[in-house]
């Protein structure tokens, strides 16, 4: 980066780079959507233990809210929170603001329309028949344009970087293109252009690319940014970063069909998907090694530094899910566990255990800086962490073990209702773990409110003691 200014006096000021209000809006909106999405999960969870307080009400049908649960987590929480984080990270790392702040605000409101439209559309029974992409077909074009604008808005500062870029920006640059292409591929091609089995292959790619090419690169990009800052030391090995990024870029897109093994999709394509999934696991291992070698010698941070603790917890879960993936994608495992709760356990471990926990960690880092005050209470931070980590560990273990039992019972041709009866206690335990995770999130929301009130009070005090300074926006 030869053109970068050398003295701090030349550096652009933070306030010129980051539109803090927008970051706050995105992060708070994400937390609200996560609450809604979690409540949707509860509705389905309670239905499965045959206790549904809202039975018989069309717009609260558990099936519909199951889709609001998954879409709410993917687009409402994860995408919204990442947009907030990107508005902080990208301008700071490139030292250039985004293309246009007015465009940023337009994207913010357009994205809220997309999410609320999705929720309302699904509640009214307009869901599209595409897993993880049930957004009604009439919202898809708006979401597609929005993703294009997001890419343009953030690629503008990245365009100013000369020469080799830092790891974070490799992941982000790739993520902007991949997300746009993945969304277009998944939502339009199987709906309007191809049918049947080939559409299934594309549907599999969409499910997987949404995690692998949208959430994963944004997540790792953010980890490569936040972890060295918090630990105050560089990433252990730059070479391993290269292996991690390029391995992911090559192998990850090739894995989609592993969602539909033993379907009429040609067998040689299924084998290809299995092999590249196992290759992804090798690549993931290099990234994990790199990050754990980085924290070596600073492990005290896991106890003292709350965001670091969330990040590394997420990484442990990431390694577990990817290791699990390498096994479950083989035909032997698939024969047993496909269609069972194993897959549901896996999905929760990825989407909550890894990416949501990372994003919560990032919020725990960002909010004190956005509000210029410390968190209100250390105790609440600890409660939030432990409820979340233990909750997701119980939930995934419960569902994964249950999936194995279900697989054997189905293969043994046991009557279907016997399998349901067997599953009920396990589903009840899943509700308990869900309550823990929800409690953790409620503690977080309450804690945010308390901290914000503390920040407002501090600003007032400051303004009273020193009337000449202008109170900062809180």
């Amino acid at each position: 980066m030869q053109t970068q200014p050398t003295t701090t006096a030349d550096l652009p000021r933070h306030s010129d780079l980051v539109e803090e209000r927008l970051v706050r809006w995105y992060l708070i909106a994400a937390c609200v959507y996560l609450t809604i999405a979690m409540l949707g999960g509860f509705l389905m969870g309670f239905q499965m233990i045959r206790y549904n307080p809202l039975a018989g009400i069309e717009i609260f049908s558990p099936g519909r809210w199951r889709m609001i649960h998954t879409n709410g987590v993917a687009y409402g929480f994860i995408a919204t929170a990442f947009l907030g984080v990107l508005h902080w990270v990208v301008p700071r790392i490139t030292l250039h603001p985004v293309l246009d702040h007015r465009l940023s605000y337009f994207i913010f409101f357009a994205w809220q329309v997309v999410i609320l439209g999705t929720v309302v559309g699904i509640m009214l029974g307009e869901a599209q028949g595409l897993e993880w992409g049930e957004t009604p077909v009439w919202i898809d074009p708006l979401a597609q344009v929005g993703l294009g604008l997001v890419a343009i808005n953030f690629m503008a500062p990245i365009r100013h970087v000369k020469g080799p870029m830092y790891v974070t920006l490799w992941y982000f640059t790739a993520a902007f293109i991949w997300t746009f292409l993945t969304y277009a591929m998944g939502n339009f091609i199987p709906q309007y252009f191809v049918t049947g089995t080939s559409a299934g292959a594309i549907g599999g790619m969409f499910i997987h690319d949404l995690v692998g090419l949208f959430v994963t690169p944004l997540g790792w990009g953010a980890m490569y940014y936040f972890v060295p800052i918090l630990l105050k030391k560089p990433i252990w090995s730059h070479g391993l970063s290269l292996v991690g990024f390029w391995g992911l870029a090559f192998f990850y897109p090739l894995t989609g069909i592993h969602h539909f093994l033993y379907t009429p999709i040609p067998m040689f394509l299924q084998y290809g998907a299995v092999l590249s999934t196992i290759a992804v696991e090798m690549v993931v291992t290099t990234v994990i090694v790199n990050f754990f070698a980085t924290i070596r010698g600073s492990t005290g941070a896991l106890r003292e530094n709350i965001p670091i603790r969330w990040f590394y917890t997420g990484m442990v879960f990431y390694f577990l899910t990817c290791l699990q993936c390498a096994f479950q994608t083989t035909l032997t495992f698939q024969a047993l566990i496909h269609f069972s709760d194993w897959v549901v356990g896996h999905a929760h471990m990825v989407m909550y255990g890894v990416f949501s926990q990372w994003l919560i960690g990032m919020m725990l880092y960002l909010f004190p800086r956005l509000w210029r005050t410390d968190w209100y209470s250390r105790r609440l931070l600890e409660w939030q962490y432990w409820l979340s980590a233990v909750g997701i560990a119980i939930m995934s273990a419960d569902l994964i073990i249950l999936g194995v039992f279900q697989g054997y019972m189905w293969a043994s041709l046991a009557p279907w209702s016997d399998v349901i009866q067997f599953s009920i206690p396990w589903w009840a335990l899943r509700i308990v773990s869900g309550v823990m995770i929800f409690a953790s999130h409620m503690i977080f929301m309450t804690h945010m409110l308390l901290t914000w009130m503390k920040a407002v009070a501090e600003r007032k005090q400051e303004a009273a003691s020193n009337p000449s300074t202008v109170a900062q926006t809180v």
Binding site: E58, R64, L169, L181, I202, P253, A335, W410, L413, I420
Partner: protein, 242 residues
């Protein structure tokens, strides 16, 4: 190249994605290009037509309100019923995806895990080359049974009562009730309800082994004109339902 914007943008972002798209999506598209996509009208077969007329007989008031008066006789009646049948399949599929039925009921039978014993013949590619599989409804989870061979297994009455209140027929069923497909009672399905029942009855109606029963055995009685031994012997030698 590996650390520069252009390398990341063009090689990782566009080229690798394109490579995956060609190998994972274009290849199956080309392989199945000789299997043309059928429209809902082309999917109407005698089995599903029978169910359509059965719905008209069982729920005459509801049927008339939903689809209108059936023409009395002749080719007009045939054409009318076929068209209403195709329309109902489309409406039924919309309800099926709108309610996320397919997130608990898969639509494909695998060649492993004894699935052909439980559900019926293993899924074939051509079964999915039609308008009602756009996007395809393979599904990834089975809370309830696979439905791709469900058509004709149970009566329309059964489906109406089951949709209205599942655990009145299957005690302990975790399936939600869908009373909004009925005007107050299971004998009064509305248009969406009739269409959804017809859609489920359509699943598997194109198979030779329709309707597929879990413990299906051919009749042990010899048919009067058969010279060969009854097919029941061949079936029972595989053993019945374990």
């Amino acid at each position: 190249m590996l650390e520069k914007r252009s390398g990341v943008f063009f090689i990782a972002g566009l080229f690798f994605f394109g490579l995956a798209f060609v190998s994972q999506a274009v290849v199956p598209i080309l392989m199945y290009r000789d299997q043309p996509e059928k429209t809902a009208e082309q999917l109407v077969n005698p089995n599903v037509r029978f169910q359509m007329e059965d719905l008209a007989k069982r729920f005459p008031e509801s049927f008339k309100e939903a689809f209108g008066e059936i023409p009395a006789v002749g080719p007009e009646r045939e054409a009318w019923l076929n068209q209403r049948c195709a329309d109902a399949l489309r409406i039924g599929r919309k309800a099926y995806t709108g309610e996320a039925c397919w997130h608990c009921h898969s639509q494909f039978v695998r060649p492993v895990s004894n699935e052909d014993r439980r559900w019926g013949p293993v899924a074939k590619a051509e079964e999915y080359q039609n308008e009602l599989q756009r996007p395809v409804l393979f599904g990834t989870r089975r809370v309830g049974p696979d439905l791709s061979r469900e058509g004709g297994r149970r009566s329309n009455d059964w489906h109406a009562v089951h949709l209205f209140k599942p655990n009145s027929l299957i005690s302990g069923s975790p399936m939600p009730a869908y009373p909004w497909y009925f005007e107050g009672s299971p004998d009064k399905p509305n248009k969406r309800g009739l269409s959804l029942i017809l859609y489920v009855q359509w699943l598997g109606s194109w198979l030779e082994s329709y309707p597929y029963y879990e413990d299906y055995k051919a009749s042990p009685l010899r048919s009067p004109d058969a010279r060969r031994p009854s097919p029941a012997i061949a079936v029972t030698s595989e053993g019945g339902k374990p």
